[in-house]
Symmetry: C2
Subunit: 327 residues, 2 copies
């Protein structure tokens, strides 16, 4: 930077300003600095800038895994929104392990990230306390506060419990009473199952067969799990899959068996991934606005970081049961 200053015939600060606040510099000076930057191939050291300004322009996000379209689409939108606001995304994967999440948070705090995006709101009391003490803006995603857990700071999500309830209601409305659930061994999936079971019970349906796959729950788990459910209870007529990809796997399994969907068995998905619109039959599903969630998370952070208080610190983006041909 001092080389640039010397070549341009100005001081260090002026170079700094020419780069960071160009309109506070005279046009001629600006041109001279830019020429020098170009000539020398100068690349400003953002690390030094971060240290001096106490702002890193980095936001970190922690997801269970990026290899799940459901999360990757949220992250994609988040990264895009942040990039447009001049922030970079540092990515952490917890692998659904709470311990790893805590470790990641430590590292990220050490890097003095300007904001943090978390998945879910089941963080441990210790972690919540640490985050509050650190004073970093935090956005939790993919869930609403599930009592007794209050939001750590900001939040954008939907009720997984209610989504599970709506799924059950959708199937029961269509006359199904022998219900099954295929999901993952994971907080949000369990909440949906809880809601699913609650509504079933309210309709006098006590026996809801369920299969919980240890993450990652891949599409090729779906067929075998359906088979296991049917082995226990051959008369099942409707299955709620916690992910459209799993639902597609179930559809393929039905093709294999020569079963009609929804004639022999109805299939309800979750997410409204592109596969739901491409499947045959078209998949009924619980639509989640994943990209919108990432965008909201990014915008909440940007608003906070630019000193504006948005007011809306808790957004329920809801969900929607989309009825297509599979139920």
């Amino acid at each position: 930077m001092s080389d640039v200053a010397r070549v341009a015939g100005v001081s260090l600060v002026t170079v700094s300003r020419a780069i960071n606040e160009p309109d506070k510099v005279a046009p001629d000076t600006l041109a001279a600095v830019r020429a020098a930057v170009e000539q020398l191939g100068y690349v400003p050291n953002l690390t030094a800038g971060s240290l001096a300004s106490n702002r890193s322009r980095i936001v970190a996000a922690i997801v269970p895994t990026i290899s799940n379209l459901v999360f990757s689409e949220t992250i994609e939108a988040l990264a895009q929104t942040l990039a447009d606001g001049g922030y970079q995304l540092l990515l952490g994967q917890s692998g659904y392990r709470a311990g790893d999440e805590a470790t990641l948070v430590d590292t990220f705090l050490g890097r003095r990230v300007d904001g943090l995006v978390l998945t879910g709101n089941a963080q441990s009391p210790a972690l919540r306390a640490k985050l509050k003490r650190a004073g970093v803006p935090v956005v939790q995603t993919w869930d609403l506060p599930t009592p007794p857990n209050a939001p750590i700071d900001m939040l954008v999500g939907f009720s997984n419990l209610e989504a599970g309830k709506a799924a059950a209601q959708h199937l029961i409305d269509r006359g199904h009473r022998a219900l099954a659930f295929i999901g993952a061994e994971e907080d949000r999936s369990r909440l949906r199952l809880e809601g699913f079971r609650a509504v079933a019970a309210a309709h006098g349906i006590g026996d809801v067969q369920s299969e919980l796959i240890r993450p990652p729950a891949l599409i090729d788990d779906a067929g075998p799990r359906l088979a296991q459910i049917l082995a226990r209870r051959p008369d099942v007529t409707a299955v709620f899959c916690n992910n459209d990809l799993l639902a597609a796997g179930v559809l393929f399994e039905c093709v294999q068996r020569g079963w009609q969907v929804p004639g022999r068995i109805a299939v309800l998905g979750f997410g409204d991934l592109a596969v739901a619109r491409a499947a045959s039959p078209r998949l009924s599903t619980v639509l989640i606005r994943r990209a919108e969630m990432g965008e909201h998370a990014g915008q909440m952070l940007l608003a906070r970081l630019s000193g504006q208080s948005t007011g809306a610190d808790l957004i329920d983006i809801g969900f929607e049961v989309v009825t297509r041909a599979s139920t």
Copy 2:
């Protein structure tokens, strides 16, 4: 840090050492420092550390999009490998735009990342030059050097051209002569098409129908594109899809039409995603070791960063045509 030093009754350097090189500190001193850290809730500022040591312990990766299972699984493995080596991953998405890639590289260089992972090897001469000048370790992925492009530094990939050739050969071996291709408007997809066409031509097949989808190529594009191909050439008997998800879309389209696969039309996928093993019929596909690619990229960087020269700076991980039931 000076608070910790005071409480522990040692100097700043000792605190630094206790944290970064614990075995170079006497056990008692170490215990005292750790107690002080704990008591004060001290979180070391890694930004300051980076500035002083000139190592950020951050590696950046640029992919076209994270919302494509093909890339996200590579990134997942990369992030995991790096994390195990004490490095974090900074993520950039180029959206398949070369300009965005260059901008991202600038920012990452500004952050003094310790390494860079790029997708493909079609970077512009200007970008290649800049990276070489910067002296950062770079790993290119997902391709072999396509002349005249030499590797920038290290590389792990496979030949997309050869993969396309193998795909054509696979279909031709099974008696197909009316071939079609569904892919994306994107470098690697185009290379595969080129190889596909070359082998077809060598067998006297001049008319290969193709549909190139503007990214992101989603599964729900597959059906309509297949329809367009068939509108132009109804007698097509085999289609090579550049992604297993697209292939699954084609399978669903065939279910819709009541067509037998491979009886009426054979379908060959790409990637060997989980969906290939779950589809009905099971999908023949070109297997790419995506996770392995991410792991290799991470290990090459770690080796370089730890001062070891691995020797192997160019890895061809190859591909494999997996024959299942759809061809």
